[in-house]
């Protein structure tokens, strides 16, 4: 009877354990709770497990909701990204794909997300940017970063702070549109000296696959130099007549700026789509994990509860048998 009273009181007064990180704390605390069973304080351990179950269930609900939100945002932005894919193709058809161009001033534009919980896409972008930096390093060559998005900023500021020229965050406060991106592109073009701009982003291929991609935009001087060298695609550029009121170099300048804003627009949209897709799959696996954890906790809870009942029965019966004989 004393035991029953203690059990009741324990249920009322047991402090709910705040478990900020049930994933990590869970395994380490299951064992102590089982030890508590053997030492006689049975009631509190079921309380612990019950609280963990409640928090894990809440986490599962939250991640499931986040997955739904990401799925609906993905639908909307995926159509826009796919519609904008035609925008950069004429430029690549005209100027070719000059990823292997050798220039003195490289500017690496890294596009990333502002919010987290979207899987590994931001780390991938930063990894590729750092690798490009390394690839294009050498005597007389300088590499600078322009960072778009909080997550890449956090990672690049740690070791390449002196190389960062410009940081832009909160791109998606208003829905992405071409005007906003062209203002951003104008900003970058005005403030950063470059021979080649390399835009690093995650291209959306499908809901589960995002390909890191590098798009190169050359400055008009480099375009003229490469055209004069008659190597590959750009060698044919001289064959093109230029219709414009101004001189050829002014038209090429306008062309380079226009190309940059078009490629940026597509890149930003694709990265946003990849972000939503990655978030969707990350939240999906997270809610699945939470479900598994909940199942394991339920089993533990039942075992603990049954163990305490069995122990009580044993005590009663052994007490009764001791009285008898």
């Amino acid at each position: 009877m004393a035991m029953a009273a203690l059990r009741r009181e324990g249920r009322r007064f047991a402090t709910p354990l705040i478990s900020p990180n049930p994933a990590i704390a869970l395994r380490s605390s299951i064992i102590p709770s089982q030890e508590q069973v053997s030492s006689g304080v049975r009631c509190i351990s079921t309380q612990i497990v019950r609280n963990r179950m409640k928090s894990v269930k809440n986490i599962q609900k939250i991640t499931k909701a986040m997955k739904m939100v990401a799925a609906s945002k993905l639908r909307a932005i995926q159509t826009r990204a796919e519609n904008s894919r035609g925008l950069w193709q004429p430029f690549t058809a005209l100027l070719g794909d000059s990823a292997s161009v050798d220039v003195k001033k490289n500017v690496i534009v890294t596009i990333s997300a502002d919010k987290g919980l979207c899987g590994g896409i931001n780390s991938t972008s930063v990894k590729i940017s750092r690798a490009l930096h390394k690839l294009n390093s050498g005597p007389e060559k300088e590499n600078k970063y322009v960072v778009l998005g909080e997550k890449a900023k956090a990672q690049l500021v740690r070791d390449s702070k002196k190389d960062i020229e410009l940081i832009m965050t909160e791109l998606q406060k208003n829905p992405l549109n071409y005007t906003q991106v062209s203002v951003m592109a104008d900003d970058i073009l005005k403030n950063v000296e470059f021979d080649a701009l390399r835009i690093v982003f995650n291209k959306f291929q499908s809901v589960v696959s995002f390909l890191p991609t590098v798009s190169t935009v050359l400055s008009p001087e480099v375009v003229e130099r490469e055209a004069a060298e008659s190597g590959g695609k750009l060698g044919e550029l001289d064959l093109y007549e230029v219709e414009g009121a101004e001189t050829k170099s002014e038209v090429l300048q306008n062309l380079a700026e226009f190309q940059f804003s078009c490629v940026m627009f597509n890149a930003v949209l694709e990265n946003a789509t990849s972000e939503q897709g990655a978030r969707m799959s990350a939240m999906d696996s997270s809610s699945r994990n939470a479900g598994d954890m909940l199942d394991r906790l339920t089993l533990t809870y039942n075992r603990t509860r049954q163990a305490s009942i069995t122990t009580e029965l044993i005590e009663i019966i052994s007490g009764a048998s001791a009285l008898e004989g």
Partner: protein, 232 residues
């Protein structure tokens, strides 16, 4: 004996033996199946889409291969990123005789209005005036000013009012027109055009700084072009 490929088992499925909860299993399987299906579908479509002409493969990857090689030498652990030419169908080379039709790609940031459409002629509003482009036109890079773009196909003509942009005509009778905005002419309201024109002319006369003058001038240009498009 037919080899049935084994489906990809994801780690969490191994716990299925432990959990007797059928509901959780049922909830798990559709998304994973969907994901597997997407994986397979995406790889097959990607494969077929990325290499439409297998004979052109060497040309497509020659620009990439230099980059890929340099990458692999310098950074062996990381997969090289993709470059735009990997995602684009290669254009055919210049044919020896002039083709009968012009292939037009007319793209805007929000949509591709015309994508690889075969037409007879397009008239584009270049800064030097209206320029007609026929199949076999010499390769040109043209800057566009706000004006009317008309696409002639047989007996139909589609007219759009385009804002500025660029147009590339390639030697293989491909024309790429990139504009920021394009509206069919019947969607433009003449009253608003007149009002805009008077507003901007007034702003131009009262503008003090260079920036304001430039903005007002752009407004006047666009609106007078709109006016001309509606009347002409």
């Amino acid at each position: 004996m037919i080899q049935i490929p084994k489906p990809i088992t994801l780690p969490h499925f191994k716990l299925a033996a432990k959990t007797t909860n059928n509901l959780s299993q049922r909830l798990q399987s559709p998304p994973t199946m969907f994901r597997r299906f997407l994986c397979r579908a995406s790889t097959t479509t990607m494969r077929s889409w990325r290499r439409p002409f297998s004979t052109d493969l060497s040309a497509e990857t020659s620009a990439d291969s230099k980059f890929v090689e340099a990458w692999r030498k310098a950074i062996p652990n990381v997969e090289p990123p993709k470059t735009p030419s990997a995602f684009m169908a290669t254009r055919p080379s210049t044919p020896s005789s002039i083709p009968s039709k012009l292939t037009v790609n007319f793209v805007l940031p929000y949509s591709s209005q015309l994508s690889a459409k075969e037409v007879d002629m397009v008239i584009i509003p270049a800064t030097t005036g209206q320029m007609g482009v026929l199949p076999g036109h010499v390769a040109t890079i043209a800057e566009l000013k706000p004006g009317v773009l008309s696409v002639h196909e047989g007996n139909d003509t589609t007219k759009y009012f385009v804002s500025g942009g660029f147009a590339f005509v390639h030697a293989n009778s491909f024309a790429d027109i990139i504009a920021i905005e394009a509206v069919p002419l019947d969607r433009i309201d003449p009253n608003l055009v007149q009002k805009g024109l008077t507003d901007f002319t007034q702003k131009l006369s009262t503008a003090s700084t260079d920036v304001e003058k430039a903005e007002a001038q752009i407004g006047v240009d666009v609106h007078s072009a709109l006016n001309a498009a509606l009347t002409g």
